[in-house]
Protein backbone atom coordinates (compact mmCIF):
# COMPACT_ATOMS: atom_id res chain seq x y z
CA UNK A 1 0.00 0.00 0.00
CA UNK A 2 1.32 3.41 -0.83
CA UNK A 3 2.01 5.76 2.05
CA UNK A 4 -0.30 8.47 0.74
CA UNK A 5 -3.45 6.34 0.89
CA UNK A 6 -5.19 7.54 4.02
CA UNK A 7 -5.73 4.80 6.60
CA UNK A 8 -8.27 6.62 8.73
CA UNK A 9 -11.99 6.13 8.76
CA UNK A 10 -14.31 8.61 10.43
CA UNK A 11 -16.34 9.12 13.57
CA UNK A 12 -19.15 6.93 12.23
CA UNK A 13 -16.87 3.93 12.72
CA UNK A 14 -16.65 4.64 16.45
CA UNK A 15 -20.43 4.85 16.91
CA UNK A 16 -20.84 1.30 18.22
CA UNK A 17 -17.99 1.44 20.73
CA UNK A 18 -19.19 4.81 22.05
CA UNK A 19 -22.80 3.73 22.21
CA UNK A 20 -21.72 1.08 24.72
CA UNK A 21 -20.79 3.81 27.20
CA UNK A 22 -23.00 6.76 26.24
CA UNK A 23 -26.80 6.77 26.35
CA UNK A 24 -26.92 8.91 23.20
CA UNK A 25 -25.35 8.78 19.77
CA UNK A 26 -22.16 10.82 19.65
CA UNK A 27 -21.57 10.89 15.89
CA UNK A 28 -23.97 13.83 15.54
CA UNK A 29 -22.51 15.66 18.57
CA UNK A 30 -20.34 18.74 18.02
CA UNK A 31 -16.87 18.47 19.49
CA UNK A 32 -14.34 21.26 19.99
CA UNK A 33 -10.65 20.43 19.67
CA UNK A 34 -8.30 21.48 22.49
CA UNK A 35 -5.48 21.69 19.96
CA UNK A 36 -6.75 24.14 17.36
CA UNK A 37 -10.22 25.14 18.48
CA UNK A 38 -11.84 23.59 15.41
CA UNK A 39 -15.37 22.43 16.12
CA UNK A 40 -17.21 19.92 13.99
CA UNK A 41 -19.57 16.97 14.23
CA UNK A 42 -17.80 13.98 15.69
CA UNK A 43 -18.68 11.99 12.55
CA UNK A 44 -16.04 14.07 10.71
CA UNK A 45 -13.21 13.12 13.07
CA UNK A 46 -10.48 10.91 11.61
CA UNK A 47 -10.74 7.56 13.33
CA UNK A 48 -7.98 4.97 13.37
CA UNK A 49 -9.22 1.51 14.22
CA UNK A 50 -5.95 -0.39 13.76
CA UNK A 51 -4.41 1.02 16.92
CA UNK A 52 -5.04 -0.91 20.11
CA UNK A 53 -8.56 0.42 20.62
CA UNK A 54 -9.82 3.36 18.62
CA UNK A 55 -8.21 6.75 18.27
CA UNK A 56 -10.12 9.77 16.97
CA UNK A 57 -8.09 12.72 15.70
CA UNK A 58 -9.05 16.26 14.74
CA UNK A 59 -9.44 16.63 10.96
CA UNK A 60 -7.98 20.13 11.28
CA UNK A 61 -4.79 19.62 13.31
CA UNK A 62 -4.50 15.85 13.93
CA UNK A 63 -4.68 16.33 17.70
CA UNK A 64 -5.92 13.21 19.53
CA UNK A 65 -9.53 13.99 20.49
CA UNK A 66 -10.58 10.74 22.06
CA UNK A 67 -9.44 7.19 22.65
CA UNK A 68 -11.56 4.23 23.57
CA UNK A 69 -10.05 0.90 24.55
CA UNK A 70 -12.01 -2.14 25.66
CA UNK A 71 -10.46 -4.94 27.65
CA UNK A 72 -12.41 -8.04 28.65
CA UNK A 73 -13.37 -6.39 31.95
CA UNK A 74 -13.35 -2.64 31.39
CA UNK A 75 -13.58 0.12 28.85
CA UNK A 76 -11.11 3.01 29.03
CA UNK A 77 -12.33 6.33 27.72
CA UNK A 78 -9.79 9.11 27.21
CA UNK A 79 -11.34 12.44 26.20
CA UNK A 80 -8.12 14.44 26.38
CA UNK A 81 -8.54 16.41 23.18
CA UNK A 82 -12.08 17.68 23.53
CA UNK A 83 -12.82 21.03 25.15
CA UNK A 84 -16.46 20.08 25.02
CA UNK A 85 -19.01 17.87 23.36
CA UNK A 86 -22.29 19.53 22.44
CA UNK A 87 -25.10 17.00 22.28
CA UNK A 88 -28.56 17.86 20.99
CA UNK A 89 -31.36 17.40 23.50
CA UNK A 90 -33.68 16.40 20.67
CA UNK A 91 -33.32 12.70 20.01
Amino acid sequence: MSADVPTYLDGNAAAGALREVFAVDLTAAIGKCTGCGHSAVFAEAHVYVDAPGMVARCPGCDNVLLRVVSTPNDTYLDLRGLTYLRISNTP
Binding site: V5, P6, D10, N12, A13, A15, G16, A17, E20, D25
Partner: protein, 250 residues
Protein backbone atom coordinates in the same frame (compact mmCIF):
# COMPACT_ATOMS: atom_id res chain seq x y z
CA UNK B 1 -35.42 8.31 45.98
CA UNK B 2 -37.70 7.38 43.20
CA UNK B 3 -36.46 4.34 41.43
CA UNK B 4 -36.17 4.86 37.71
CA UNK B 5 -35.23 2.27 35.18
CA UNK B 6 -31.64 2.65 34.10
CA UNK B 7 -31.31 2.91 30.37
CA UNK B 8 -29.73 -0.30 29.26
CA UNK B 9 -26.40 0.12 27.49
CA UNK B 10 -26.21 -0.96 23.92
CA UNK B 11 -24.26 -4.14 23.70
CA UNK B 12 -23.85 -7.30 21.68
CA UNK B 13 -26.76 -9.54 20.85
CA UNK B 14 -27.03 -12.70 18.81
CA UNK B 15 -29.06 -12.59 15.62
CA UNK B 16 -29.94 -15.47 13.33
CA UNK B 17 -29.38 -15.54 9.60
CA UNK B 18 -32.70 -16.01 7.84
CA UNK B 19 -31.62 -15.48 4.23
CA UNK B 20 -28.51 -14.81 2.16
CA UNK B 21 -28.52 -13.26 -1.32
CA UNK B 22 -25.54 -12.97 -3.62
CA UNK B 23 -25.51 -9.47 -5.09
CA UNK B 24 -22.31 -9.67 -7.16
CA UNK B 25 -19.37 -12.08 -7.30
CA UNK B 26 -17.97 -10.50 -4.15
CA UNK B 27 -20.92 -8.92 -2.35
CA UNK B 28 -23.65 -10.62 -0.44
CA UNK B 29 -26.73 -9.51 1.45
CA UNK B 30 -27.34 -11.16 4.81
CA UNK B 31 -30.82 -10.99 6.31
CA UNK B 32 -30.91 -11.30 10.10
CA UNK B 33 -33.57 -11.78 12.68
CA UNK B 34 -32.45 -10.05 15.88
CA UNK B 35 -34.90 -10.51 18.77
CA UNK B 36 -34.00 -7.25 20.53
CA UNK B 37 -33.95 -5.12 17.39
CA UNK B 38 -35.47 -1.67 18.08
CA UNK B 39 -35.81 -0.67 14.41
CA UNK B 40 -33.36 1.56 12.55
CA UNK B 41 -32.95 4.69 10.48
CA UNK B 42 -31.73 4.64 6.89
CA UNK B 43 -27.96 5.11 6.88
CA UNK B 44 -27.28 3.49 10.25
CA UNK B 45 -24.91 0.58 10.61
CA UNK B 46 -24.20 -2.35 12.88
CA UNK B 47 -21.01 -3.81 14.27
CA UNK B 48 -20.52 -7.51 13.64
CA UNK B 49 -18.21 -9.57 15.85
CA UNK B 50 -16.65 -12.95 15.14
CA UNK B 51 -15.00 -15.05 17.84
CA UNK B 52 -12.45 -17.71 16.93
CA UNK B 53 -12.25 -21.01 18.86
CA UNK B 54 -9.19 -19.68 20.72
CA UNK B 55 -11.13 -16.60 21.86
CA UNK B 56 -9.64 -14.15 19.36
CA UNK B 57 -12.23 -11.60 18.36
CA UNK B 58 -12.56 -9.31 15.37
CA UNK B 59 -15.33 -6.80 14.75
CA UNK B 60 -16.27 -4.66 11.76
CA UNK B 61 -19.02 -2.20 10.95
CA UNK B 62 -21.43 -2.87 8.12
CA UNK B 63 -24.09 -0.57 6.81
CA UNK B 64 -27.70 -1.62 6.94
CA UNK B 65 -29.13 -1.91 3.43
CA UNK B 66 -32.81 -2.31 4.26
CA UNK B 67 -35.44 0.20 5.32
CA UNK B 68 -37.09 -0.64 8.60
CA UNK B 69 -40.43 -2.28 7.92
CA UNK B 70 -41.09 -3.85 11.30
CA UNK B 71 -38.95 -6.94 11.17
CA UNK B 72 -35.44 -8.06 10.35
CA UNK B 73 -32.34 -6.22 9.28
CA UNK B 74 -30.31 -6.63 6.11
CA UNK B 75 -26.59 -6.00 5.72
CA UNK B 76 -24.66 -6.09 2.47
CA UNK B 77 -21.04 -7.12 2.81
CA UNK B 78 -18.37 -6.69 0.16
CA UNK B 79 -15.62 -9.25 0.50
CA UNK B 80 -12.20 -7.77 1.12
CA UNK B 81 -9.30 -9.96 0.00
CA UNK B 82 -7.34 -11.07 3.08
CA UNK B 83 -10.01 -9.55 5.34
CA UNK B 84 -10.54 -10.99 8.81
CA UNK B 85 -14.31 -10.84 8.83
CA UNK B 86 -15.80 -10.30 5.38
CA UNK B 87 -14.60 -13.59 3.76
CA UNK B 88 -16.45 -15.53 6.47
CA UNK B 89 -19.60 -13.45 6.03
CA UNK B 90 -19.57 -13.70 2.23
CA UNK B 91 -18.41 -17.29 1.75
CA UNK B 92 -19.14 -19.32 4.86
CA UNK B 93 -22.10 -17.92 6.80
CA UNK B 94 -25.35 -19.72 5.98
CA UNK B 95 -29.04 -19.61 6.81
CA UNK B 96 -29.68 -20.63 10.42
CA UNK B 97 -26.25 -19.54 11.68
CA UNK B 98 -26.00 -17.20 14.68
CA UNK B 99 -24.21 -13.89 14.25
CA UNK B 100 -23.16 -11.49 17.00
CA UNK B 101 -24.10 -7.89 16.33
CA UNK B 102 -24.33 -4.51 18.07
CA UNK B 103 -26.61 -1.82 16.77
CA UNK B 104 -28.16 0.01 15.18
CA UNK B 105 -25.66 2.83 15.61
CA UNK B 106 -24.99 6.23 14.08
CA UNK B 107 -27.16 9.32 14.11
CA UNK B 108 -25.34 11.64 11.69
CA UNK B 109 -25.16 9.75 8.42
CA UNK B 110 -28.92 9.11 8.40
CA UNK B 111 -31.91 10.23 6.39
CA UNK B 112 -35.32 10.63 7.97
CA UNK B 113 -38.38 10.79 5.70
CA UNK B 114 -39.60 13.92 7.52
CA UNK B 115 -36.34 15.73 6.78
CA UNK B 116 -36.86 18.80 4.58
CA UNK B 117 -35.18 19.31 1.22
CA UNK B 118 -33.89 17.21 -1.67
CA UNK B 119 -31.18 14.63 -1.15
CA UNK B 120 -28.12 13.89 -3.22
CA UNK B 121 -26.57 10.47 -2.71
CA UNK B 122 -23.05 9.75 -3.95
CA UNK B 123 -21.61 6.27 -3.47
CA UNK B 124 -18.37 4.61 -4.43
CA UNK B 125 -18.38 0.80 -4.66
CA UNK B 126 -20.05 -0.76 -1.63
CA UNK B 127 -20.52 2.77 -0.32
CA UNK B 128 -23.87 2.46 -2.06
CA UNK B 129 -25.15 0.23 0.77
CA UNK B 130 -26.38 2.89 3.26
CA UNK B 131 -27.58 4.98 0.31
CA UNK B 132 -29.68 2.03 -0.80
CA UNK B 133 -31.27 1.97 2.65
CA UNK B 134 -32.13 5.66 2.13
CA UNK B 135 -33.64 4.98 -1.29
CA UNK B 136 -35.65 2.10 0.13
CA UNK B 137 -36.81 4.23 3.06
CA UNK B 138 -37.78 6.91 0.53
CA UNK B 139 -39.87 4.31 -1.32
CA UNK B 140 -41.35 2.78 1.83
CA UNK B 141 -42.41 6.21 3.08
CA UNK B 142 -43.81 7.09 -0.39
CA UNK B 143 -41.73 10.25 -0.07
CA UNK B 144 -41.89 12.80 -2.89
CA UNK B 145 -38.57 14.34 -1.85
CA UNK B 146 -36.44 14.59 -5.00
CA UNK B 147 -33.45 12.26 -4.72
CA UNK B 148 -30.51 11.67 -7.02
CA UNK B 149 -27.96 8.89 -6.77
CA UNK B 150 -24.53 8.99 -8.37
CA UNK B 151 -23.10 5.51 -8.10
CA UNK B 152 -19.45 5.04 -8.99
CA UNK B 153 -18.44 1.47 -9.80
CA UNK B 154 -15.53 -0.17 -11.56
CA UNK B 155 -17.58 -2.08 -14.10
CA UNK B 156 -21.17 -3.15 -14.78
CA UNK B 157 -20.69 -6.51 -13.03
CA UNK B 158 -19.73 -4.67 -9.82
CA UNK B 159 -23.12 -2.97 -9.49
CA UNK B 160 -24.88 -4.07 -6.31
CA UNK B 161 -28.72 -4.05 -6.31
CA UNK B 162 -28.88 -3.54 -10.06
CA UNK B 163 -32.47 -4.78 -10.37
CA UNK B 164 -33.78 -2.96 -7.31
CA UNK B 165 -32.08 0.26 -8.35
CA UNK B 166 -33.67 0.20 -11.77
CA UNK B 167 -37.08 -0.38 -10.20
CA UNK B 168 -36.60 2.48 -7.76
CA UNK B 169 -35.40 4.74 -10.57
CA UNK B 170 -38.75 4.27 -12.30
CA UNK B 171 -40.16 6.75 -9.76
CA UNK B 172 -40.26 10.28 -11.12
CA UNK B 173 -38.74 11.52 -7.84
CA UNK B 174 -35.64 9.33 -8.17
CA UNK B 175 -32.80 9.96 -10.60
CA UNK B 176 -30.01 7.42 -11.03
CA UNK B 177 -26.61 7.83 -12.69
CA UNK B 178 -23.98 5.13 -12.92
CA UNK B 179 -20.37 6.24 -13.19
CA UNK B 180 -17.99 3.56 -14.50
CA UNK B 181 -14.33 3.94 -13.58
CA UNK B 182 -12.72 1.00 -15.40
CA UNK B 183 -15.12 -0.49 -17.92
CA UNK B 184 -18.49 0.77 -19.15
CA UNK B 185 -21.32 -1.14 -20.78
CA UNK B 186 -21.88 -0.88 -24.53
CA UNK B 187 -23.30 2.51 -25.48
CA UNK B 188 -21.85 4.30 -22.45
CA UNK B 189 -18.88 6.28 -23.69
CA UNK B 190 -17.71 7.76 -20.39
CA UNK B 191 -15.17 5.85 -18.32
CA UNK B 192 -13.61 7.72 -15.44
CA UNK B 193 -14.02 8.99 -11.94
CA UNK B 194 -16.52 11.54 -10.70
CA UNK B 195 -15.25 15.00 -11.55
CA UNK B 196 -16.51 18.58 -11.40
CA UNK B 197 -18.09 18.40 -14.86
CA UNK B 198 -20.01 15.26 -13.97
CA UNK B 199 -21.26 16.78 -10.72
CA UNK B 200 -22.30 19.87 -12.66
CA UNK B 201 -24.25 17.77 -15.15
CA UNK B 202 -25.81 15.12 -12.93
CA UNK B 203 -25.90 16.23 -9.30
CA UNK B 204 -28.13 18.80 -7.63
CA UNK B 205 -26.66 22.29 -7.63
CA UNK B 206 -25.78 23.76 -4.22
CA UNK B 207 -28.91 24.80 -2.34
CA UNK B 208 -29.72 25.81 1.21
CA UNK B 209 -32.07 22.89 1.82
CA UNK B 210 -30.08 20.21 -0.01
CA UNK B 211 -28.43 17.44 2.00
CA UNK B 212 -25.68 15.43 0.33
CA UNK B 213 -24.57 12.02 1.54
CA UNK B 214 -21.23 10.64 0.36
CA UNK B 215 -20.11 7.12 1.24
CA UNK B 216 -17.21 5.06 -0.01
CA UNK B 217 -13.55 4.29 0.57
CA UNK B 218 -11.71 7.16 2.31
CA UNK B 219 -9.91 8.45 -0.84
CA UNK B 220 -13.22 8.48 -2.78
CA UNK B 221 -15.02 10.38 -0.03
CA UNK B 222 -12.20 12.92 0.34
CA UNK B 223 -12.10 13.54 -3.43
CA UNK B 224 -15.87 13.91 -3.83
CA UNK B 225 -16.28 16.06 -0.72
CA UNK B 226 -13.50 18.38 -1.96
CA UNK B 227 -15.21 18.67 -5.37
CA UNK B 228 -18.53 19.48 -3.73
CA UNK B 229 -17.11 22.16 -1.46
CA UNK B 230 -15.07 23.68 -4.29
CA UNK B 231 -18.28 23.65 -6.33
CA UNK B 232 -20.03 25.83 -3.77
CA UNK B 233 -21.70 23.30 -1.48
CA UNK B 234 -21.87 24.19 2.20
CA UNK B 235 -19.57 21.70 3.99
CA UNK B 236 -22.10 21.52 6.83
CA UNK B 237 -24.65 20.06 4.41
CA UNK B 238 -22.33 17.36 3.07
CA UNK B 239 -22.43 14.26 5.26
CA UNK B 240 -19.76 11.67 4.77
CA UNK B 241 -19.03 8.11 5.76
CA UNK B 242 -15.69 6.49 5.03
CA UNK B 243 -14.60 2.91 5.01
CA UNK B 244 -11.15 1.50 4.77
CA UNK B 245 -9.16 -0.76 2.48
CA UNK B 246 -9.18 -3.46 5.14
CA UNK B 247 -12.85 -4.07 5.18
CA UNK B 248 -15.94 -1.98 5.11
CA UNK B 249 -16.77 0.73 7.57
CA UNK B 250 -15.87 -0.96 10.82
Amino acid sequence: MERTALRRRLTWQVGTVTEVRDETETARTIVLDAPDWPGHLAGQHVDVRLTAPDGYRASRSYSISSAWTGEGVELTVEQVPDGEVSPYLVEVLKVGDPLELRGPVGGWFVWRPEQAGPIQLIGGGSGVVPLMAMLRAHGTAASTTPVRLLYSVRRPASVIYVKDLKELAASEDVDLTFVYTREAPAGEPRVGRIDAALLQAKAFAPADDLTTYVCGPTPFVEAVADLLVTGGHDPARVRTERFGPTGGPR
